[in-house]
Each structure stands twice: as C-alpha cells, then as structure tokens.
C-alpha cells in the first residue's frame, strides 16, 4: 500500500480523500463526510481555508462506548502522516476529524450528499446541515458562513427550518435572523 509521504509537497485534496477512503475500507472509520469550510465551498464560492474538517463515525466494539480518534491517528502515522496539534496532515492538507457531538451531527452524517472528486467518491454534508451546525457552533466565522448561504439563496429553507426545529435551534435561528437583517 502506498503511503502519502512519496507525494507530500505536491498533492491535492484528491490524495487526502483517497487516503480517507482507504482508511474507511480498512475499517478504521465508518461513515464520513466533509464539513467545515470545504463543505461550504462545495455549495458556495471558493475562499481561503487552512484545513479540511471531516465528520466521522467510528466503528465501536459491541458493548463499548469509548470514542477516541487514536485509531485514526495511529493508522495515518503508519502511512507517513504527521500530527499537527488537533489535526493530522494527509498529503498537503491538515485534516481535523470530528466525532458527532449530538443528534444533529449524527443526522448530518446520515443525510450526507454523495459526490465525486475527480474519480474519488466522497461525501459532503448537506447545505442545510452545514448551516444548522454553524448556527449551533456559533462563532463569528460560522455566522458569516450562514450569511453567505442566505445571501446566495443556497439553502432549501423548508428543509433547514425542519432541521432547526427538530434539533431545538429554532429560537437561536430567530435571534440570528433578526441580527442578520439589521446588518
């Protein structure tokens, strides 16, 4: 099996996604999907970002509820990847693996959109789930991303409202909307 260090320094995200797919095929991770800035870029215009956020479900042994990213890091270190704080560099991309923090992220993974990156199959969170997760996270950059989605009419409002209601984010959404419409 080829490790990524042969091509480090001149790789694209294709190399990164290929490695993540291999990790999935080897049973280290379960379902995954691209989120964060790169997820947003799938739907909107490109902008600068430092890393790739991957939401991931880990396979667990029956009866075990321990969730740790260690198996991912161990697997990738063997492949020649370097750990950089909370991220691990695969090819040229620092990747942050994120476990679902609740029902919203779990549903987002369940309903991720299948796509293809130059022949590499992959998954991206839906626009509506990206917006809901951004609202839940609530940093300034998350609100800016939500504003971009709304400004470009890039979300299905009916679907978004349903997700927000289902996950108890409707009042936070009302507060965001009143602030957003003032600016």
């Amino acid at each position: 099996m080829a490790s990524v260090d042969h091509v480090q320094g001149k790789t694209t995200v294709k190399t990164t996604l290929d490695m993540i797919n291999r990790m999935q095929a080897d049973g280290v991770i379960g379902k995954y999907a691209i989120g964060g800035a790169v997820g947003v870029i799938f739907y909107l215009e490109a902008f600068y970002t430092e890393d790739l956020d991957i939401f991931v479900i880990l396979p667990t042994a029956p009866g075990s509820s321990v969730m740790s990213l260690s198996p991912i890091h161990e697997y990738l270190k063997v492949q020649g990847c370097k750990v950089d704080g909370e991220r691990i560099v695969i090819g040229d991309w620092p990747v942050q693996f994120l476990l679902p923090q609740g029902a919203l992220e779990q549903a987002a993974l369940d309903e991720a959109v299948k796509t293809d990156y130059e022949g590499i199959p992959t998954y991206v969170l839906s626009a509506e789930h990206l917006v809901a997760i951004a609202l839940k996270t609530g940093r300034a950059k998350d609100y800016a991303r939500i504003a971009m989605f709304l400004d470009q009419d890039a979300v299905n409002m009916e679907k978004l409202n349903s997700i927000l209601f289902q996950h108890g984010l409707d009042s936070k959404w009302e507060r965001f909307k009143s602030k957003f419409s003032e600016e």
């Binding site: 870029i41 909107l44 215009e45 970002t49 040229d92």
Partner: protein, 52 residues
C-alpha cells in the same frame, strides 16, 4: 460594482465544479504559505481570496 453584480459574480463562482473551486483554495493556500515566509499578513490573503 453594485450589489446585484456582486451577487451574480458570487453565484457564478459558486457554480464552478467542486474540483475547480478546490484548486482555487489550493492556490490561495500556496500563496498563504509563501506569504508566511515573506512576512505578508493574513489579511492580505483574505483580500486575494475575495478577488479570485
């Protein structure tokens, strides 16, 4: 450029194929790396991102 033109420009950029958009991001990241070495500030990279 008025607001409507800006919105149309953004929609056009958003409609690019995903790999094309990622290539733009990767170019921006290379510029950022080079800027880091030359001491350019991150704020200027964001400006470059908006002008893509």
């Amino acid at each position: 450029m008025d607001l409507l033109q800006e919105k149309q420009r953004r929609k056009r950029l958003a409609s690019l194929p995903f790999p094309e958009k990622i290539k733009i991001v990767e170019r921006l990241r290379r510029v950022s790396d080079a800027a880091g070495k030359s001491g350019l500030r991150k704020r200027n990279i964001v400006k470059l991102s908006r002008s893509e």
